[in-house]
Symmetry: none
Subunit: 241 residues, 2 copies
DNA sequence: AAGTGGTCTAGACCACCAG
DNA sequence: TGGTGGTCTAGACCACTTT
């Protein structure tokens, strides 16, 4: 039941990065040093370092060495990723608190967004997510109680709302809108930012079997977060125009 | 001047996928078959298939084989879209003018973004795109002259820089970063917006055959533009792992 | 000259799946 | 039982950078 050797080496290096022992710029052991200390072959050491490099944790310079990379504070765009895991992947500490939690009667505009023909009740949750104690995301979320009836029973201490919903409801379809905004006074206070700092607002709707599951607005202070994506072009080749 | 063997094998497989010869679900040659047909060792064949799997093009099932994967659902937010066609699709009139055009010696930070080991020359272009006469996008672009040597011969009257590059250079990989910014005075004047209006900054890099083609920053006034995407989640439960 | 990463080989053992 | 992928080894040659 032991994991592969190259995975153990990767984990060993990630531990040192996560713990802060190896900060960005630090030189990590060379392939030959790993061969000695782990009693493995060079190909195995090479695979561990090569994969960590592909994943963006390390950078390598032929003839010089392998170094810890600066972890960018950015979130993957368009995937349903868990901010807690994203922060953990950077070796930082995630925490969150609930600012507001209620069940409301949906006003017309919200009922439209949920594609509900008649007004109904919705769960409403406002949370602040912090990275090493600094607020990085304000989550303002409405949830359809017919699709996720147990959403309001969660305390979200160990699991984020996104993670809960992904696990509880299969998502068929996603809609994202990204815009730059000047936050309101309330938003500014919750995020603890200055008066003229713009924010990124990511508006997300998700569907499951034709029903809107949740409508969420995720607000990121511009100085603390950017949205990121990188991918290989699909070989079918059709880059639109 | 020859590329590594594992890269040649990857390219060989991608060609078949791109051409449509191998459709999703098709079984690709096994490691042993590649060993024979390419006269390589199994480790080299393994690396090619493993990396294509990590990049999302193939899926592997131990004891069974390796198969072409369904292309992932991508959002238009992440595609290379041509702002001229986007505006035309809304029935509006697109126009653009060149604010600046030059060839510069790349400073270190830019050389790093282009993954150039030593400083070199770069094309630099600043354009303003308007929709019905209103500025909607400020395009600030650097281009690698080794990859697109004729970029500077274009006048971009009938074709946007994005459209030219897509046609001239096959794009393998894309990176996007989105952030909210407060524009500089110069940017504000070019976009003709008020003093406290935030903007969306879309930072894009594209690669072709391992070389960075272009680094572009596209700035959109918050009041005039939002980025949007909607897509179906690809049928999950595929043979991941 | 010594050390680094980049690649490659020709074997090997294993767990798994199919006929 | 034979083919598949998953992993690993102990060598090797190369281009490169640092000392």
């Amino acid at each position: 039941m032991t994991s592969p050797l190259y995975a153990q080496v990767k984990e060993h290096i990630l531990e040192h990065i996560r713990s802060g022992a190896w900060t960005p710029g630090t030189r990590v052991p060379s392939e030959n040093e790993l061969v000695e200390s782990f009693s493995i072959s060079r190909m195995t050491a090479n695979r561990a370092l090569r994969e960590l490099t592909a994943d963006g944790f390390l950078s390598r310079v032929p003839g010089v060495g392998t170094f810890v990379k600066e972890p960018p504070a950015r979130s993957s765009l368009l995937e349903l990723r868990n901010i807690a895991e994203e922060i953990a992947a950077r070796g930082h500490k995630h925490a969150a608190y609930i600012d507001r939690r209620e069940t409301i009667e949906a006003p017309q505009a919200l009922a439209d967004e949920f594609e509900l023909r008649q007004a109904s009740k919705l769960f409403h949750l406002v949370m602040v997510h912090t990275e090493n104690g600094v607020p990085v995301q304000l989550e303002d979320r409405y949830v359809n109680p017919f699709v996720a009836p147990k959403f309001n029973d969660q305390d979200f201490a160990d699991i984020t709302p996104t993670a809960y919903l992904v696990a509880a409801v299969p998502v068929d379809e996603l809609e994202h809108t990204v815009e730059a905004i000047m936050p309101t006074v309330e938003q500014r206070e919750l995020l603890d930012i200055g008066e003229h700092e713009p924010c990124l607002a990511l508006h997300r709707r998700s569907w499951s079997k034709g029903h809107v599951v949740t409508v969420a607005t995720l607000i990121y202070p511009a100085s603390r977060y950017a949205l990121y994506s990188r991918y290989k072009t699909s070989p079918s080749g059709t880059l639109s125009q």
